[in-house]
């Protein structure tokens, strides 16, 4: 490929209008903190970014941390990223998690949330339901519980870090085939009916979270959303109510190329190095909380005598 000599050899690093984000480290920006500490020691504050104090050996992070604590990962939108705001938000989340025990749960697990409610008679209200969605990050993390009570389907949105929440218990810890179970709204009521005073099903210690591959039966149309377009895996009779025109329009809307669009995935997720940094920072506290929870759980199961038939 003859490269014409016209290529002027003005050596320019890849000029981009965007700050070269090589390692968007969550260590606080130099000018904010390190120097203040160094200035306290009176050392000439020549912040050499290359050799911070020898970082203690990074604790090994369990691989599933990003599924268990997804809200610790910030929003990947570059314009909103700021290491200091994220660090402060994580400190607040850890403080809050020390006050109440927020257990590990996924979309599809059955939860019971007791929260203090100023309007209720006994000033607290308890709601049992299946978690059908979990979104947002940081202190804004929310999840939706759905239940059918007296043949009336209802849903309640809870904020994970809302201080009015007293207790969150996981009655049944399991995963489903889909990420969000909004189609339960259009399914038969028995799929989202859970008894209020249902017992917590204990899960043995080291076992992995079971995946419940139940296939839900939908009610006839009209539906709330076009379920046929979301290629759901947990729905049984979706073809029963589909006509050809629905299949054609669904096929027209599909985007097969997005599977290969790596940059779209990159821009919507946090890279691995940053994730390990974030979780290394919060690992010690979360680990102690988990040990505490295991101790309490063991104490609790031992205390309650089982009525033998």
């Amino acid at each position: 490929m003859n490269l014409s000599t016209r290529v002027m050899l003005n050596r320019l690093a890849p000029q981009c209008a965007y700050k070269r984000i090589v390692t968007f480290s969550t260590k606080t920006a130099e000018h904010a903190v390190e120097n203040q500490e160094e200035s306290k020691k009176g050392v000439a504050p020549a912040p050499t970014p290359s050799s911070p104090a020898p970082v203690t050996r990074k604790p090994i992070i369990p691989a599933n941390y990003r599924f268990v604590y997804p809200e610790f990962l910030p929003d990947p939108k570059v314009e909103w990223r700021n290491p200091i705001r994220e660090k402060l938000e994580r400190l607040d989340m850890l403080e809050r998690r020390k006050q109440i025990d927020l257990p590990e749960f996924y979309v599809g697990s059955v939860l019971a949330v007791t929260s203090s409610d100023p309007h209720a008679a006994g000033k607290t209200s308890r709601f049992v339901g299946i978690c059908i969605n979990r979104d947002r990050c940081g202190l804004r993390a929310r999840f939706v519980l759905r239940n059918v009570i007296d043949h009336q389907g209802m849903e309640v949105v809870y904020e994970l870090y809302d201080p009015t929440i007293q207790k969150v218990e996981v009655l049944r810890l399991e995963k489903r085939l889909d990420d969000s179970l909004f189609y339960l709204r259009d399914a038969l009521p028995e799929y989202s009916t859970f008894d209020e005073n249902m017992e917590a099903e204990p899960l043995e210690e080291g076992a992995s979270v079971p995946v419940n591959d139940i296939k839900v039966v939908l009610r006839p149309r009209p539906w709330l959303e076009r379920w046929e377009r979301q290629n759901l895996r947990g729905v049984a009779n979706i073809d029963e109510y589909l006509k050809d025109k629905h299949r054609l329009s669904a096929a027209k809307v599909q985007k097969p190329w997005e599977k290969y669009d790596m940059m779209k995935d990159y821009r919507s997720s946090i890279p691995e190095e940053e994730q390990t940094e974030i979780f290394a920072e919060v690992h010690t506290d979360l680990h102690t909380l988990e040990l505490q929870r295991k101790r309490n759980k063991r104490k609790r199961t031992f205390v309650k005598p089982k009525q033998l038939a």
């Binding site: 130099e30 000018h31 904010a32 020549a46 200091i84 994220e86 203090s116 100023p118 804004r140 009015t164």
Partner: protein, 365 residues
């Protein structure tokens, strides 16, 4: 634009008392000015960042030499001791009175996240980080004659403090710019701002300003440049309803529609809302309460999510001028001189729920 033309005419301070004939500017030439564009073959001057091919040791040496002066707190070693006005060394100890106007701060809007009040109510807060502010210069009232005087009450009797934030490497700046900081004993700063202060609130150059300048629970005004949306139509810029998408509407769905009346009102009034550049204008939000302060990272939580500017943008914080929300008791005047305590626990306003406390419960009344 027309107003500024008249201002310039008035601003002509001719020596001696000869009167200036005020010429009325009638036409709005600036609106019909032709938009000139270079022809396509025109070679624009390429901005090249000249790498001056220093060897690595020399580069470290230059940075090290410059480094002595930058980095927080960027205070020249020998000048530091006598510059910082410690509390007791303050010669004219001035007591605060409600009418005095204190210096402001330069902050970066680093993000937003929710906090909860003690009654369970959720509030939105914006985080403002005060990145190592230092006083660069104080100009007494008689010497302060700005070209465009800011619209501040009784400007004549008020001096001006020049504050700088975020120190930088002097090797990257021009000589003229670093010259500003030569006699202030402070390394060169990335951003500069002028704050109109009353003479009693004078500060010696080099004094550091931090987040304790404002107390928790006080009200502040935040001034910044709004997010730049570029050229926008009336529906987004002014919230017009636009026209229906169907029912026979042809070719006008987001247009402005009628812009004036008939008869003697048959002209376009000044100030008519039309499409144009939206955003990137200075705006000030008044009366935001400070909910929480973190002295370790110099961050303050301010009420609401309406602080102008994008995340990471620069904002200027002043004491509020709203009569009902002004400081009743004395704030740290002229600024906070104590040592920044490095413990990482924050100062919370009593109404806000501290995450260290237990969950919120309500008693049966």
């Amino acid at each position: 634009m027309m107003r500024s033309v008249i201002h310039q005419l008035l601003g002509l301070r001719l020596s001696g008392g000869c009167g200036v004939t005020l010429t009325q500017v009638r036409d709005k030439g600036h609106l019909s000015r032709p938009r000139l564009r270079n022809p396509q073959w025109f070679l624009r001057k390429e901005v090249t960042r000249y790498d001056d091919h220093l060897t690595t040791e020399n580069k470290q040496f230059v940075n090290e030499l410059g480094g002595v002066n930058f980095g927080v707190p960027a205070i020249k070693k020998d000048v530091q001791e006598n510059l910082i006005k410690t509390k007791d060394a303050a010669t004219n100890e001035v007591t605060w009175t409600p009418g005095l106007r204190r210096c402001g701060l330069i902050a970066r809007k680093i993000g937003q996240y929710p906090l909860w009040l003690k009654n369970g109510e959720r509030i939105r807060t914006t985080l403002l980080q005060i990145a190592d502010n230092h006083v660069i210069k104080y100009i007494p009232p008689e010497e302060y004659l700005p070209a465009q005087p800011p619209k501040v009450h009784n400007l004549k009797k008020r001096g001006c403090i020049l504050v700088g934030s975020e120190s930088t490497n002097p090797a990257l700046l021009t000589k003229e710019y670093t010259g500003i900081f030569r006699d202030s004993g402070v390394g060169p700063k990335k951003n500069l701002a002028r704050f109109i202060v009353s003479p009693e609130a004078e500060l010696v150059p080099g004094t550091p300003l931090n987040v304790n300048h404002f107390g928790v629970g006080d009200f502040v005004d935040v001034r910044g440049k709004t997010v730049d949306h570029g050229f926008q139509g009336v529906v987004k810029r002014h919230g017009f309803k636009g026209m229906p998408a169907s029912h026979g509407v042809t070719k006008t769905h987001r247009r402005a529609g009628n812009i004036g009346g008939g008869g003697e009102k048959g002209r376009v009034w000044p100030g008519t809302k039309m499409p144009g550049h939206m955003g990137n204008r200075w705006r000030i939000i008044k009366g935001l309460r400070v909910w929480r302060i973190n002295t370790k990272y110099n961050v303050m939580w301010v009420q609401g999510s309406s602080v102008p500017g994008p995340t990471g943008g620069l904002v200027y914080i002043y004491d509020t001028i709203l009569p009902l929300r002004k400081n009743k008791e004395a704030p740290p005047f002229p600024t906070f001189f104590g040592e920044l305590q490095q413990t990482s626990d924050d100062v919370w306003y009593e109404k806000v729920h501290d995450f260290k406390n237990g969950s919120i419960t309500y008693e049966n009344e």
